[in-house]
C-alpha cells in the first residue's frame, strides 16, 4: 500500500512539474518617480502600464505578471540603488521605466552586467544610443536630441534668424540644446543652463534672454519647471515679443495647469493624443475612461513598452532563458504602437516620425493637437557610434 501511495505521489509530481514550469511569472521592476513635484509623470507612466496589462488580459506573452513599482525620487543615486535591489533580490526579468537621463546613466551598469532586459520608456541619454548601447537595453522613447532637432527644423521653416536656448543643467538639458543647435541654421545668441531640479525662479535668465533680443527662445523644461518657466515668460510680457519654441515642456500633464498661457506655443513630439491610428484611439479612450485624465507622451511610451515585452515573449513562447532569442524577438518590434509606425534602429532606439504639436482651446477645454509632420522616420545621429554585438 505504502509503495502505491509513493508511486502515486511520484506520478503526480511528474504530472505537475511541466505545469509548474508553465506557471512561471514574469517579474517586472518598474522604476519611475512617484514622489515629490514630478510624481504626476510617474503616475501617468504607471497608469499606462497598468492599462496595457488590462488590454493584454493581465498577461505578457501568455504568462502571469508581477510588477514591482519603485520610486527613484528623481535622484540618480536612489535610482541605481532601487535597480540593484530589483535585479539582485527581486530577480526581475525586465526593468521598465526611467524618466530622467541622469538616473538612466547611473543605472546602466548593473543592468548590463547582470544581462537583465531593460525597456527605457522616457530617458534618452545620447550615450545609450551611441557608445553605451547594449543588446539588453531597448528604448520606446527617443534619443534626447531628436525632438529638439525637429523643433530646430521648424524654426528654420519659420524663418527664425537668431535664437536663445535655455534648459536645465543635467544630461538631458545639454543633449536638448545640442539638438536644436544641430539643425537650427540661424545664429545662436545665447545658451543658458540652469540649476536642476531646484531652480526657483527664472527671472535672471529671462531678463538675459530679453536683453539678447533674439527672434525666438527655445526652452526644454519637463514637469513643474516647465509650468514655472512658461508662466514667468508670459508674465514678463515676452509672449507678444519673442516667440517661444519648446520640447517636452507643454504636455497633457502641464496643459491643464497652464491653460491660456500655453496656447500658441509650438512644440515637437513623437506622439500626440490625436494620432489617427486604431491602437492610439483605443489607448486614449480607455485611459480617459479609466483614470478620468488625459494620457501624456510619457504614458504612451510606457504603454508601448508593455506591448513590446508581450510581443517578445509571445515569439519565444514565454522562454526567458534563451536571451539571444528574446533579444531578436524584441528587435522585431512586432506590435501595434500607439504612435503608428514603429521600428528599432540597430542601437535599439526607435526610428520614428516627429510631429509639430500645438496647444489649442476648444470651448472650455484645452488640448494638444497634431499640426504637421516635421520629420519622417528620423534616426538618431549617434547610431554609428554603437557597436552592437551580434
Amino acid at each position: 500500500m505504502k509503495r502505491i501511495v509513493l508511486v502515486a505521489c511520484a506520478a503526480l509530481a511528474l504530472a505537475m512539474s511541466p505545469a509548474a514550469a508553465q506557471q512561471k511569472t514574469i517579474k517586472i521592476g518598474f522604476v519611475s518617480t512617484f514622489s515629490g513635484p514630478v510624481a504626476a509623470i510617474g503616475n501617468d507612466m504607471r497608469n499606462s502600464f497598468e492599462l496595457a496589462l488590462d488590454h493584454l488580459g493581465r498577461k505578457l506573452g501568455g504568462l502571469p505578471v508581477e510588477v514591482i513599482y519603485e520610486d527613484d525620487q528623481i535622484k540618480p543615486e536612489v535610482g541605481v540603488q532601487k535597480i540593484q535591489k530589483l535585479i539582485e533580490s527581486d530577480k526581475v526579468d525586465f526593468i521598465v521605466g526611467i524618466i530622467w537621463s541622469n538616473v538612466l546613466l547611473a543605472s546602466l551598469k548593473p543592468v548590463i552586467d547582470s544581462k537583465t532586459f531593460m525597456i527605457v520608456t522616457n530617458a534618452g541619454a545620447s550615450q545609450l544610443a551611441g557608445e553605451q548601447c547594449s543588446p539588453y537595453v531597448f528604448s520606446t522613447s527617443w534619443n534626447n536630441d531628436q525632438t529638439p532637432q525637429a523643433i530646430g527644423l521648424y524654426m528654420n521653416q519659420k524663418n527664425v534668424k537668431t535664437a536663445f536656448l535655455i534648459g536645465p543643467n543635467y544630461a538631458a538639458g545639454k543633449d536638448m540644446l545640442e539638438g536644436v543647435a544641430a539643425t537650427f541654421k540661424g545664429q545662436i545668441v545665447g545658451r543658458e543652463l540652469t540649476r536642476w531640479p531646484d531652480q526657483l525662479d527664472f527671472s535672471a535668465e529671462l531678463s538675459k534672454a530679453a536683453a539678447a533680443k533674439p527672434d525666438a527662445i527655445f526652452a526644454f523644461y519637463p514637469g513643474g519647471a516647465g509650468i514655472q518657466f512658461i508662466t514667468q515668460y508670459v508674465q514678463k510680457g515676452l509672449k507678444d515679443q519673442i516667440p517661444l519654441y519648446t520640447a517636452f515642456t507643454i504636455d497633457e500633464l502641464s496643459l491643464p495647469r497652464l491653460k491660456d498661457l500655453a496656447v500658441g506655443i509650438p512644440g515637437a513630439q513623437q506622439w500626440v493624443n490625436d494620432l489617427p491610428n486604431e491602437a492610439n484611439k483605443k489607448y486614449v479612450a480607455d485611459y480617459k475612461a479609466k483614470y478620468k485624465l488625459s494620457p501624456s507622451f510619457y504614458g504612451s511610451q510606457t504603454y508601448d513598452a508593455a506591448l513590446l515585452i508581450d510581443s517578445g515573449l509571445r515569439a519565444t513562447k514565454g522562454d526567458m532563458t534563451n536571451k539571444d532569442a528574446l533579444r531578436k524577438a524584441l528587435e522585431k518590434a512586432d506590435f501595434k504602437s500607439v504612435r503608428g509606425n514603429f521600428k528599432f534602429g540597430p542601437n535599439h532606439i526607435p526610428i520614428q516620425n516627429f510631429y509639430l504639436q500645438a496647444a489649442v482651446k476648444e470651448g472650455d477645454d484645452f488640448r494638444l493637437k497634431t499640426v504637421a509632420t516635421i520629420v519622417e522616420n528620423d534616426q538618431d545621429k549617434h547610431v554609428s557610434k554603437c557597436k552592437m554585438p551580434n
Binding site: 513635484p37 510624481a39 508674465q235 495647469r257
Partner: protein
C-alpha cells in the same frame, strides 16, 4: 546699465520672498529656540490653501485672504498639537520632530490635492509687464510682490518695535525665564509667535505661487535659502533677516546673470556653460561660510542683554 538695473530688481524681488520666509523662521528660532524644518511645509500649505480658495471663490484676492486665515489656523493647531511637546528639548529632537512633520505635510497634501499640483492664476490685468524706467520692462506682479513684502515688513517692524505684544516678543527673545517670572503667559506668547511665523510663511507661499507652481515639496528648496539668510543675518534678528535676504537674493540672481558668461571667457565654451551655473549656486553658501568664520553671530545679531 539698464540690464544691470533689471537684474538687480530680480534679485531684490527674490530677496523679498526669502525675507517673508526667513522672518518667520528667525522669530521662531530666536524667541522659541525651536529649529523648525516644517516651516517650508507651511509655505506649501499656504500656497495650496490660497489656490483652493481662489478656485472656489473665483477671486485672487479672496483666495489670498482666506488662505492666510486658514494658514494661521493651521499654524496655531500645529503648535498646540505637535510643537509644544518639543519645547525645552534638544535641537536634535526639534530637527527629527519637525522633519517628521515635513514628511507628514507632503503626504497629507498628496492625499488631499493629489500629486499633479495646482496653479494660482493671476487676474489678467496683472499679467502684463510695466515700464519702470525708460527701456526697462518689468512684470507688474513682481513689483506687486516687492511692494506687498515691504508693507508686511513695515507692519512687522511696527508690531515688534512699537506694540506691547512686540515688547513681550523681544523680551522673550532676550530672557525667557524673566518674562515668565513676571507673570506673562509664555505659552500663549509662543502660540502667537508660531502662528505669526506660519502666516508669514503661508503668505510667502501664496504670493510666490503665481510665479512658480503649487506643488508638493515646493517649500523645501526655498527653506534651505531661508536658513542661509538667518545664519548670515543673525539668528533672531528681523533687521538682519531683511538685509541678508536682499544680499542673498542679489548674489544669487546676479551670479546666475553674469557668472556663466564670465566663466566662458576663461574656459572652453562647454566647460564654462556647465561651471557657471554650478558656481553661481555655490556663491551664497560661500558667503555663509565666510560669515560663519568671521562673524559667527551673523551680520546683525539680535541684541541680547
Amino acid at each position: 546699465m539698464l540690464y544691470l538695473i533689471e537684474q538687480c530688481l530680480n534679485g531684490v524681488q527674490l530677496g523679498m520672498l526669502l525675507f517673508l520666509l526667513a522672518a518667520g523662521l528667525t522669530l521662531i528660532f530666536g524667541i522659541m529656540d525651536l529649529v523648525n524644518l516644517a516651516h517650508g511645509s507651511l509655505y506649501m500649505v499656504g500656497a495650496y490653501l490660497a489656490a483652493t480658495f481662489a478656485a472656489l471663490t473665483g477671486s485672487f484676492v479672496a483666495g489670498l485672504v482666506l488662505g492666510l486665515i486658514a494658514t494661521l489656523a493651521v499654524g496655531i493647531v500645529l503648535e498646540v498639537v505637535a510643537i509644544r511637546p518639543l519645547y525645552g528639548r534638544d535641537h536634535l529632537d526639534h530637527v527629527l520632530g519637525t522633519f517628521g512633520l515635513l514628511l507628514f505635510f507632503n503626504d497629507i497634501v498628496r492625499w488631499i490635492w493629489g500629486p499633479a499640483g495646482m496653479t494660482l492664476s493671476l487676474p489678467s490685468q496683472m499679467l502684463a509687464a510695466v515700464q519702470v524706467l525708460p527701456g526697462v520692462f518689468y512684470p507688474m506682479y513682481r513689483i506687486v510682490i516687492i511692494l506687498a513684502t515691504l508693507a508686511v515688513g513695515g507692519l512687522l517692524y511696527v508690531l515688534v518695535m512699537r506694540t506691547r505684544i512686540g515688547m513681550l516678543i523681544r523680551a522673550g527673545a532676550s530672557n525667557r525665564e524673566m518674562v515668565s517670572a513676571l507673570g506673562i503667559n509664555i505659552t500663549l506668547l509662543y502660540t502667537l509667535v508660531f502662528g505669526l511665523g506660519a502666516a508669514l510663511a503661508g503668505f510667502a507661499g501664496m504670493i510666490a505661487a503665481p510665479i512658480s507652481f503649487v506643488q508638493i515639496g515646493m517649500g523645501e528648496n526655498i527653506l534651505i535659502l531661508a536658513f542661509v539668510v538667518i545664519i548670515i543675518g543673525g539668528i533672531g534678528s528681523i533687521r538682519g533677516a531683511f538685509v541678508a535676504s536682499i544680499i542673498v537674493g542679489l548674489i544669487d540672481t546676479l551670479g546666475r546673470a553674469f557668472l556663466p558668461d564670465l566663466a566662458r571667457n576663461f574656459l572652453s565654451y562647454s566647460a564654462g556653460s556647465s561651471l557657471g551655473p554650478a558656481l553661481s549656486s555655490m556663491l551664497i553658501y560661500m558667503l555663509m561660510a565666510g560669515v560663519l568664520v568671521f562673524r559667527p553671530e551673523g551680520l546683525f545679531p539680535a541684541s541680547r542683554k
